[in-house]
């Protein structure tokens, strides 16, 4: 009797496992379909390969555990927004860590900006810092428009706003970024 019960239990477990497996196959399909775009956007936000891998992993982990393992209604939008949020969190953590270390090791006044202001890495890092400081609604638009290269219509659909609003948000984001970058520059000088 006991053997039979164990046998039925195993069969039942196998059945459940197969069902879960089939129901979550969409995660792999989503990875296949949107993975390259996600890696590109994460790379552009973070600029560091290990951080990209970590953010990518966190995105899919969240995707697998949200909605009780079910598929969200707009998978692409969910993935892009999750990836963007995770990447910005990593970026903020990295910046805080860097600031703490630089304050501990050297006096800030000793660190001078590179002679060549157009030094690409310096400019990119400064831009990333400023993007991480943007309010969420502006940051989402600038990330999706300029880093993921999506159209305003697609961004509108993803964020639940109109294309015109997305356009206005981008304009505001650019204004804020330029203001902050100029201010930083003046402070350093």
């Amino acid at each position: 009797m006991l053997d039979k019960a164990v046998g039925y239990g195993l069969i039942w477990d196998l059945g459940v496992c197969e069902t879960v497996d089939k129901s979550q196959q969409w995660i792999l399909s989503a990875m296949q379909r949107h993975g390259p775009e996600l890696v590109t956007i994460l790379w552009r936000i973070l600029g560091n390969e290990q951080d990209v891998c970590d953010a990518y992993q966190s995105t899919f982990l969240q995707l697998a555990h949200c909605w009780s393992g079910g598929k969200p209604e707009h998978t692409k939008a969910y993935m892009f927004r999750t990836a963007s949020n995770v990447a910005v969190s990593i970026l903020r953590r990295r910046l805080a860590e860097r600031e703490r270390l630089s304050a501990a090791i050297v006096d800030k006044a000793d660190v001078s900006p590179p002679a060549n202001e157009l030094d690409s890495k310096y400019l990119q890092e400064r831009l990333r810092c400023c993007i991480a400081r943007l309010p969420e609604h502006l940051r989402n638009v600038i990330t999706l428009r300029d880093l993921a290269e999506l159209s305003y219509a697609q961004i509108g659909r993803m964020l639940g706003i109109s294309a015109a609003t997305a356009r206005v948000y981008r304009c505001k984001a650019i204004q804020l970024l330029s203001l902050w970058m100029n201010k930083e520059e003046r402070d350093r000088l």
């Binding site: 497996d21 891998c53 995105t59 990119q124």
Partner: protein, 187 residues
């Protein structure tokens, strides 16, 4: 009584529409609307955009606007720099492997997962097409020339030449006589 829904006045002009000379299908009208919108957008951009002459003149003379323009330009430059930095081709493969590693066992062992672990970024169809754009244009031009040779334009040229020759021959017949004209044109 016999008027159908499709019958429309010959010319309709409203304060926001271009004249509709005859009945147009909704698709055609939609296309026209789209064209007009694009035209308006371009016109506004040309007249009010940062490249317009009067804007450039002002920026050249106003230090405050000049500063703003430069700082916005710097942001655009930084964004293009960020976009132009390529990542290593195996980054997608590594990211997939790491992400699949934390999924449940049944997903990790799926054949698709194995394929994803060795996946590399591939250019999109549009990018592939744009690479072969010039050769495709050349081939299309050759096909168009062949088609024209086979059909209308060259036969039209032949007809045109024959008609011209006939007119000149008639002129000679009238002025120097038919015998001499036959000698000249060889018939």
């Amino acid at each position: 009584m016999n008027k159908t829904q499709d019958s429309r006045p010959e010319t309709q002009v409203t304060n926001y529409q271009l004249p509709i000379t005859s009945y147009q299908s909704p698709g055609l009208r939609l296309n026209k609307c789209r064209q007009i919108r694009a035209w308006l957008r371009n016109a506004i951009r040309n007249y009010l955009g940062p490249d317009a002459d009067w804007v450039q003149d002002h920026i050249g003379n106003c230090p405050r606007c000049h500063r703003r323009f430069v700082s916005v330009g710097k942001i655009n430059l930084a964004l293009s720099l960020v976009k132009s930095q390529p990542h290593k081709p195996d980054l997608l493969m590594r990211a997939n492997s790491q992400a699949i590693g934390v999924l449940k066992h049944s997903l990790r062992e799926a054949p698709k997962a194995q394929k994803l672990k060795s996946m590399r970024p591939e250019p999109k169809l549009l990018e592939i097409c744009s690479m072969h754009k010039s050769s495709a244009t050349n081939i299309a031009a050759c096909i168009a020339i062949l088609f024209l040779m086979k059909t209308s334009i060259f036969s039209f040229m032949d007809t045109f030449q024959a008609q011209g020759q006939k007119a000149v021959r008639q002129y000679y017949v009238n002025h120097v006589g038919e015998d001499l004209a036959n000698d000249i044109f060889g018939s």
